[in-house]
């Protein structure tokens, strides 16, 4: 039945790749592409819960509202206040710092773990399961757990004074940021490991066999076969890390509450602080909108620079 519909398509434009190598994906050419209607439920949902609120937030950022009564139009007042706000500037730097820290620490770690977990021995499977446990916990549970574990008098620092000194991890900026980076690494590395594990398993064994015949050692194989083959997964994982980093919130809320003072007040937390603690929903909306714009731009830049938009297959030249 379905063959009827799809007898025409190879003429369609965007599928140049599959036209070049029709034999590589015989099953695809038999089935038609899903129609637009398939995207409709998601599109409706996206519009309802993302686009509409986004527009409302944009409007609210030009208003003054404390949550009671009706909002007052104040023009660009919220925006000019934010521009002059040192805490806002600081929060942007902190957000970027935490995001970069996340990418720099988590990427090598999850690549190594992922490639390792892609092996087939039985003990790896068991250990992998243990590695993935943090993934199952909510960010809130993870934060509460670490807040208790890092208590200076009753947690780990109390027994490891040689490492933690007086244990004032949450009382100083450097250590507080360190804790935040550590906790998100602890929580999210398993997720990225999972991505790399899947990707590493899909690397054809032929490549390694050929390399071995050519006399390439383990490290050469890793740097010349595995890493290049993981390229697309790396970009996917890094975009997820960046977006996740820019929107980090729960860990800060529970672990540091933006403190000490404003030393860990990242933008997302500052938005919450303004809107829901200070009841200044106009300023909160402005921060939220700025965050959306910044995250979109950064994601687009990463996609462009990495060539992710072209989706070059890592399988090219393999078969």
């Amino acid at each position: 039945m379905t063959t009827k519909i799809t007898s025409a398509p190879p003429a369609a434009g965007p599928r140049k790749g599959s036209r070049r190598r029709p034999a590589a994906s015989p099953s695809v050419s038999k089935v038609g592409r899903p129609g637009f209607a398939w995207a409709l439920p998601a599109a409706v949902f996206f519009a309802l819960f993302a686009i509409v609120p986004l527009v409302m937030v944009a409007v609210l950022s030009f208003m003054s509202w404390n949550g009671l009564g009706s909002p007052q139009w104040v023009g660009t007042d919220n925006w000019s206040r934010l521009m002059d706000d040192p805490v806002m500037l600081k929060s942007v730097w902190l957000t970027l710092l935490l995001t970069v820290l996340g990418v720099v620490v988590q990427t090598p770690l999850s690549i190594m773990l992922g490639v390792w977990a892609a092996g087939h021995q039985r003990n790896r499977a068991v250990l992998s399961v243990i590695y993935f446990i943090p993934l199952l916990l909510s960010a809130t549970a993870v934060s509460v757990l670490w807040r208790a574990l890092l208590d200076p008098n009753f947690g780990i620092p109390a027994d490891a004074g040689w490492l933690f000194g007086d244990g004032n991890l949450f009382g100083e900026q450097a250590t507080a940021i360190g804790v935040l980076a550590f906790v998100s690494t602890w929580q999210f590395t398993p997720f990225h490991t999972l991505i790399y594990q899947g990707a590493a398993r899909s690397i054809p064994q032929v490549l390694y066999q050929a390399a071995e015949i050519d006399g390439a050692g383990r490290y050469r194989q890793f740097f010349h076969i595995t890493l290049p083959q993981l390229r697309n997964s790396m970009i996917t994982s890094m975009i997820l890390m960046i977006v996740g980093g820019l929107t980090t919130f729960e860990t800060v809320l529970i672990l540091t509450q933006g403190g000490p003072g404003t030393d860990t007040t990242i933008s997302a937390y500052y938005m919450y602080d303004k809107a829901f603690k200070g009841f200044d929903f106009g300023a909160g909306s402005a921060i939220a909108l700025a965050l959306v714009v910044a995250a979109t731009i950064i994601s687009l830049v990463v996609v462009k620079v990495s060539g992710y938009d072209k989706m070059r297959s890592s399988m090219e030249g393999v078969s």
Partner: protein
């Protein structure tokens, strides 16, 4: 072609699915209350005391035609969630609050019912409560709250064994406190436990010292919008004394990593690793829950020490004056609400509150103290509050809620040395007062 024919059905299915999902999503956020279901909804802070509120509501429902429903919001986010729902149809008829600044914005937004009409019909609604407490919910000359639950003065608690070992008596003056700090340091314990990670415990030191040094008038001046109050010499003196206390190592070095809310500072005192802790009167029941043995045998308490040469009366107290029930203007059943509020000075209410360690502020409280669960502790608090010329409401409750976050930041930053006195004064002057 077949895809074409399928399209409308798919759209219909998709739309229905989206609708169903969004509906169920709405159902998930059930606040409990609705516009008018012929009942009165009473919203309270969700904690252990709810047991008694439930009991009072049940008693009320025995005789009333209009039934009352108790809704609770758990956790420390009560105020935030309340402000989110208060101008929606989900708003309750009657709700729990802290009086003072916590209800001012609602009064300004014309959401609350002034209670003078209720009081005119039944003067007991005012006269059965201690006046200093009742007056804390008076805004712009009109009463907006009826005291409920109990008063919570902040006391200086201590570990009896630790103090004994160090040869220290509960301090009556500031100098005695400084002396105790040195002796406790020599013993190798943290002199004063502080949950600086929560910040509001840190604030307690500020509100008491300001009151002892300048008297209640200075803070009231600042609260009334006179920013110069923060530059007064008394304000600077209080800041200097706080600085000295911190620099003397009274709180150790890691107080900002310690929390009261996760039991950290509570355990420090109970396990003898710290001598003192300044905390609200709920501390006793907290210790009783976490460390029952210590609470019964080792926990001592005293009033905040006097400061020599200060203008404030050493008998003044600070803390949560009380909690209050305020009434929404939009309530459809004001008569039933008035009837419900009358229960707040009933003998049954007072007895039930005393049984869980809450000290009510009604005129008949005195009669039941001796039969309460902790007569000695209740008597101490009651006398303290009844004799106090002034009861300073916690700073973050006295100021409007919109000021609390910035105030906490300034307090934490001054305490740990990130801000100097001038920086602190500037930060406090920048706080909104209405």
């Amino acid at each position: 072609m077949k895809t074409r024919a399928r399209l409308p059905r798919l759209i219909a299915t998709g739309a229905t699915l989206a609708l169903a999902l969004s509906l169920s999503a709405c159902g998930g956020g059930d606040g409990g209350a609705s516009a008018d279901d012929g009942k009165i909804h009473i919203l309270v802070y969700g904690d252990a005391t709810n047991k008694i509120e439930k009991q009072i509501v049940d008693k009320f429902n025995e005789t009333s035609d209009v039934k009352a429903v108790l809704d609770t919001i758990p956790g420390a986010d009560y105020q935030k969630k309340l402000q989110t729902i208060i101008s929606t149809p989900q708003a309750p008829d009657v709700f729990f609050n802290w009086g003072g600044g916590s209800i001012k914005p609602f009064v300004k937004a014309d959401l609350l019912l002034p209670l003078d009409d209720f009081i005119k019909k039944n003067p007991d609604l005012e006269s059965k409560f201690l006046p200093s407490v009742f007056n804390n919910a008076v805004v712009d000359g009109k009463p907006y709250g009826i005291p409920m639950r109990g008063t919570q003065p902040v006391l200086l608690f201590h570990n009896k064994n630790v103090l004994k070992k160090a040869g220290v008596q509960p301090p009556k003056t500031w100098d005695e406190l400084l002396d105790a700090v040195e002796k406790l340091k020599d013993e190798g314990v943290t002199p004063i436990a502080l949950g600086g990670g929560d910040v509001w415990p840190t604030q307690m030191w500020f509100q008491y010292l300001y009151d002892r040094i300048a008297g209640p008038e200075l803070f009231q001046k600042a609260l009334d919008g006179d920013k110069s109050a923060w530059e007064a010499p008394e304000s600077k003196k209080a800041l200097k004394m706080i600085r000295e206390l911190v620099d003397a190592g009274a709180f150790g070095k890691n107080y900002d990593s310690v929390k009261y809310t996760n039991g950290g500072s509570v355990a420090l005192v109970a396990q003898g690793k710290a001598g003192f802790e300044l905390m609200g009167s709920w501390y006793y029941s907290q210790q009783l829950t976490d460390h029952p043995d210590f609470a019964e045998k080792g926990l001592g308490y005293s009033a905040f020490p006097a400061v020599e040469g200060g203008k404030g009366d050493p008998k003044n107290v600070a803390g949560n004056t009380n909690n209050y029930y305020s009434v929404m203007k939009k309530t459809k059943h004001p008569e039933a609400v008035a009837e419900f509020l009358e229960l707040m000075y009933s003998d049954e209410f007072v007895k039930a509150q005393l049984d869980v360690g809450n000290l009510t502020t009604t005129t008949n409280t005195d009669r039941f103290i001796e039969t309460s669960a902790t007569p000695e502790y209740s008597r101490f608090q009651y006398d303290l509050v009844a004799d106090a010329p002034s009861f300073q409401l916690s700073w973050d409750q006295a100021f409007p809620q919109s000021a609390a976050s910035d105030m906490h930041k300034a307090i934490q930053q001054f305490f740990n040395g990130q801000l100097d006195a001038d920086g602190f004064i500037k930060a406090m002057q920048a706080l909104p007062t209405e």
